[in-house]
């Protein structure tokens, strides 16, 4: 982050900062607690009044204080609406998800679950859906790797050889963003179908045996195979890989590479020692932006896969919206989130970069 470290101001200014931050945090905590229904009944009314008082109090303080006070309180005021929205509709739902995951459905046909510290949902999630968890992360992992393999050279060529076409090429990469995700996936299901052009081409070139041996084609079919699901994931998240890699490559000064060549470095060594290390933040951001949505995806597995290629996303969706087993679905959802948080944190530690955002 650029220049957002706290300036060492006079004590009065620091006190104003603390008041602003405190008001923001108190308001956020109050609205989240009301959303979680931890505060109910007349206490909730009191909390709402308190919330309004905090917000209005800050406005009053800004108006009553001098220009300097106003200046120091301004960022907190600007942040408040958006942050409170996130506190109520991002933070509070994670809590209700946790509570739902520890609840029990009174009967098979009941809709409303009752909270009773039922950890059995987590045991069920692992015992009944372990395979789906495994497949979800495996497919997402392979798709992420493929995205690097396809996306890095593409980003490299655009950044270093695009010349005046750079922006146009980059625009082309973004275009798939603007066509419906679902229809794109349906397009793939039609392209990969038994009578579709791709299978036809492979058969025409008599390469079916080769693709069977590679495990891509199964019994002469391309659709409804793990390869099709992974291919769909790779396709749908590829732009998320290309863009951050491009951004990090674009920042590299070409003079650095020229300097290396002047010093008799080979092109390969110049790439390994200069370009590659400097593009690590882009690859890091790209893998996160690809892996996280891919791990929770269920559209590709639904449209391109078969019942044996379902991912954890399919199970959560099915349990939540079809079987109406909210507690079990919530437990799976919560586990998915925890695994991803842990994975992201250890990955961040491994690659150590501050350019996450």
């Amino acid at each position: 982050m650029a220049a957002t470290e706290v300036e060492a101001g006079p004590p009065a200014a620091r006190r104003v900062d603390l008041i602003g931050l405190g008001a923001l945090l108190v308001a956020g905590a109050l609205i989240a607690a009301i959303g979680m229904r931890l505060i109910t009944g007349s206490l909730a009314v009191l909390a709402t009044v308190l919330l309004l008082a905090v917000v209005l109090g800050l406005v009053f303080a800004a108006v009553a204080g001098g220009p300097d006070t106003r200046r120091r309180l301004a960022p907190y005021g600007l942040l408040k609406p958006g942050m409170l929205w996130l506190a109520l509709f991002y933070l509070a739902p994670l809590f209700t998800l946790l509570r739902a995951s520890l609840s029990t459905l009174p009967s098979r046909f009941a809709v409303e679950a009752e909270f009773d510290w039922n950890f059995g949902n987590y045991a069920d999630a692992f015992s009944d859906f372990g395979a789906q968890f495994g497949r979800g992360f495996l497919y997402a992992g392979i798709a992420t790797l493929l995205c690097v393999v396809i996306g890095y050279p593409l980003a490299y060529v655009i950044a270093f050889r695009g010349g005046r076409w750079r922006n146009v090429l980059l625009g082309l990469v973004v275009v798939p963003f603007f066509t419906s995700y679902l229809i794109r996936t349906i397009a793939w299901s039609s392209l990969l179908a038994d009578s579709g052009p791709i299978v036809g081409t492979i058969e025409g070139l008599q390469l079916t045996g080769l693709f069977e041996a590679a495990g891509i084609i199964d019994n002469g079919r391309l659709i409804n195979t793990p390869a099709a699901v992974i291919g769909g994931l790779t396709y749908n998240f590829l732009p998320f890989m290309i863009l951050p890699i491009y951004v990090s490559l674009e920042k590299i000064d070409p003079a650095l590479i020229d300097a290396a060549k002047d010093l008799y470095s080979t092109a390969g060594a110049a790439f390994r020692k200069i370009v590659l290390p400097l593009s690590v933040p882009g690859v890091f951001a790209g893998t996160l932006l690809t892996f996280i949505p891919a791990a929770g995806d269920f559209i590709n597995a639904e449209y391109l896969g078969n019942p044996n290629t379902t991912m954890v996303g399919n199970s959560i969706q099915d349990q939540f919206l079809v079987q109406n087993n909210t507690p079990l679905a919530s437990a799976m959802s919560f586990v998915l989130m925890i695994i991803i948080v842990v994975a992201v944190l250890s990955y961040t530690k491994l690659l150590g970069t501050e350019e996450l955002s």
Partner: protein
């Protein structure tokens, strides 16, 4: 970059360019399919096998009533949520890039979290919240959910765009006697507007195309992606391709306008 010195170098160079070209082509195969099949005259209810060329789907893109209704809902949701999220997100972006204040790094991290949470977790957690509140899921809950993920997106996109912004210009305006209000509307706002518009366009596209979070918060409401998914087992009308192509054309032309305008400004600025 220096010219290739050996034929091996040249071959490697062209090999890489070819590889990248194939990668770009890969991105466009399904897009081409979508556009091409919007001109198909399908046999039966599935527009997934090529029959013959027709302009009929384009002459009457809104003939499928439930599809059109769903599409209109998507546009309405995207318009409302984008307007609110752009306002809230831009305010956050200005706060984070314009001011240095206590707690900014922590708040910054909090802002990134929704974008690093899988959509299915966001969707299912919001569903548990609305179940908990005993709220009927529908239009409003979808708008609320979309604003939630758009706010973070807008804030980060706008912040990235205003990162190199020279805030001393504001100081200069005020030194010349402009009031803070006047400074904002005459100096700051015009300079950050392109970033805000780009973020709004992208988040509009995110909203219109969102499927997973919408599925969990929509209840019985139908949106464009929800309609496609729900009806796919019984039909897939060519009008879906026409509407998808329309979204594509509209956003690409907006992007083009943006690119042309910014490059023109670049020319003026450098001369």
């Amino acid at each position: 970059m220096s010219a290739p010195t050996s034929s091996r170098g040249a071959a490697a160079r062209w090999g890489l360019n070819l590889y990248a070209a194939i990668g770009l082509l890969y991105l466009f195969v399904p897009i081409a399919w979508i556009v091409w099949f919007s001109f198909n005259e399908p046999k039966g209810r599935y527009n997934i096998v090529w029959q013959r060329f027709t302009l009929e789907n384009w002459s009457d893109p809104f003939s499928n009533e439930s599809l059109t209704d769903a599409f209109a809902q998507s546009l309405k949701i995207a318009a409302i949520s984008t307007a609110i999220a752009t306002l809230l997100g831009s305010m956050i972006a200005v706060a984070l890039s314009r001011y240095s204040f206590k707690g900014s790094s922590g708040l910054n991290l909090f802002l990134v979290l929704p974008l690093t949470t899988p959509e299915i977790v966001l969707g299912s957690s919001l569903a548990t919240l609305f179940l908990d509140w005993d709220v009927t899921r529908g239009f409003t809950t979808v708008v609320i959910a979309h604003i939630m993920f758009q706010v973070s997106f807008v804030a980060l996109t706008v912040r990235a765009r205003v990162r190199g912004f020279d805030w001393t210009l504001e100081q200069a305006a005020q030194d010349l006697g402009a009031s803070p209000m006047r400074t904002f509307w005459k100096v700051t706002f015009p300079l950050i507007l392109p970033g805000i518009l780009a973020a709004a366009l992208l988040s509009f596209a995110l909203s219109i195309d969102d499927f997973i979070i919408t599925l969990f918060t929509a209840g019985s409401l139908s949106t464009f992606p929800l309609y496609i998914n729900g009806s796919f087992r019984v039909q897939f009308p060519p009008q879906a391709n026409v509407l998808a192509t329309m979204i594509l054309l509209a956003s690409v032309s907006l992007l083009l306008i943006g690119v042309i305008r910014s490059s023109r400004r670049g020319v003026v600025g450098s001369s």
